[in-house]
Amino acid sequence: MFPDDLTFSIADWVNRGVDALVTRYGDVFRQVSDSLLWLIVRLESGLRWLPWWLLLIIVGGIALHATRKVFSALLIVGLLFLVGAVGLWDKLMQTLALMLVATLIAVLIGIPLGVMAARSKRLRAVLMPLLDVMQTLPSFVYLIPVLMLFGLGKVPAIFATVIYATPPLVRLTDLGIRQVDPEVMEAVNAFGASRWQQLFSVQLPLAMPSIMAGVNQTTMMALSMVVIASMIGARGLGEDVLVGIQTLNIGLGLEAGLAIVILAVVIDRITQAYGRPRHQVQP
């Protein structure tokens, strides 16, 4: 038995902190929440407003541009058609919107953080353990305070997704930039390129395969949060999985689950194809 006088708890202290945060800055959080919600709802209604066939054509076009293979593009379109055919089109759009916004936020945070980490050893030393925590802390732990701050629905779902899905992007951006050939960087430096010129004309393009692998990971991890997101009231495919569990409707759960897998496959194929360098770089 662990001696009682050596135990302590941070629970009360954290609870008071969160309470104070909610009472003092509740309005600010509400505003952030509202503007984010506005963005998601806009995107979602836009996606649902598009005729289904037009969306399939657009996705097919993107897939063709990315993979340069007609078969892959047709397969991707076919799989998405299948999701529509089992009556999950609207929910697919809801999940897609949620995921796109979460990925967008993760990219806006993750890539700059990765770039900064590649430049500063000190920042990397602080950041890496933090990323480990973000990835391993059970999501329900931070879901509760996020719920208190932002209320139920899509916004906390986005936040939880971003916390979980950003770390691989930061890591892979950092890695990609540090792996750029030092002699190339030396040459660029010798010609007097500024920091921004180095970043945009050399480092980011050469790190792109790694960064796209990070975006790919981020989208995959965002999709894996879909069911948890539906538990806090974000609608979409996760909802059906949840209902399937709650009502023992295994068929319904499986359909929605497979639809999530299909969305994952589609996004995976497209982001991976963009990650492949167009001119195979040889050492």
Binding site: A187, G192, H279, V281
Partner: protein, 272 residues
């Protein structure tokens, strides 16, 4: 002839305790003793030399002699631990960021042993890189790059990617990129060392032919005495970061300063 580049008592120590290492060096410790005592590696040791306007100045030494470290002091890819580097009479170590950028864009350009080409840019874009960085117009970049592309004999390759070229061609791109920047000073760090002998001889000829017209101030780093004798107006021989001898090729051959230099020369005589 005036001195374009002046290196004054430059020392470079790599490691955590440069002051302690320098102090030991001044007491006459060898490179190995300093490494054992402080864990610091001596790159360049109290070295002074000057390079004249319009000459090809060859710095020769075996690997680890500090020649590549030394040449990087001339455009401040490496900053010395102590000493001064003057270019056209100006102390380049005193330059701030903006002034240094301007200096690298307009005064000095460099060719690297491993080429240092941008793998995601075409040959023409690579040659234009120095011009683009300093903000020249697109037409100007294209025209200058086309001109230098032709000058190094790469017509027809403008749209190719670096990995599609052979080593010799890649280094022509590296040379054209440096020449296109049109700077008065050109640094070549073992530029031809990675190439096979025939291509190396080709590029040496080409450099000499270009220099006939251009009259640039060239600092050429090599570990090959033949190359040094062929290209250099003057040759400096480095060993363990110290300058052993400076002189015209003839001086070096006829009056080697010590055993180290003599061994280079003897080896050459033996193979002739």
């Amino acid at each position: 002839m005036t001195a374009r580049i002046e290196v004054r008592s430059v020392s470079k120590v790599f490691g955590a305790k440069p002051e302690a290492a320098l102090a030991l060096l001044h007491q006459g410790a060898t490179k190995e003793q300093v490494l054992a005592a402080t864990g610091c590696v001596i790159g360049v040791d109290d070295l002074s030399l000057s390079v004249l306007e319009g000459e090809i100045f060859v710095i020769m030494g075996l690997s680890g002699s500090g020649k590549s470290t030394l040449v990087r002091h001339l455009n401040r890819l490496i900053d010395p631990t102590c000493g001064q580097v003057l270019i056209d009479g100006e102390d380049i170590l005193a330059f701030d960021k903006a002034r240094l950028q301007h200096f690298r864009r307009h005064t000095v350009s460099m060719v690297f042993q491993g080429f240092g080409l941008l793998p995601h840019r075409t040959v023409l874009e690579n040659i234009a890189y120095g011009l683009k960085v300093r903000g020249e117009s697109r037409a100007q970049c294209r025209d200058r790059a086309q001109y230098w592309l032709a000058a190094v004999g790469l017509q027809g390759y403008e749209g190719k990617w670096p990995h599609q070229l052979s080593g010799g061609m890649r280094q022509r791109v590296g040379l054209a990129r440096a020449l296109a920047a049109d700077t008065p000073i050109l640094l070549l760090d073992e530029a031809f060392s990675a190439l096979d002998p025939l291509i190396r001889a080709d590029l040496q000829d080409q450099l000499l032919a270009l220099q006939q017209e251009l009259k640039k101030t060239i600092v050429f780093i090599t570990h090959d005495l033949d190359e040094a004798l062929r290209l250099g107006n003057r040759i400096a021989i480095l060993r363990d970061g110290r300058l052993i001898q400076v002189g015209a090729p003839k001086d070096i051959l006829e009056h080697p300063a010590d055993d180290y230099v003599d061994r280079f020369v003897q080896r050459r005589v033996a193979t002739l």
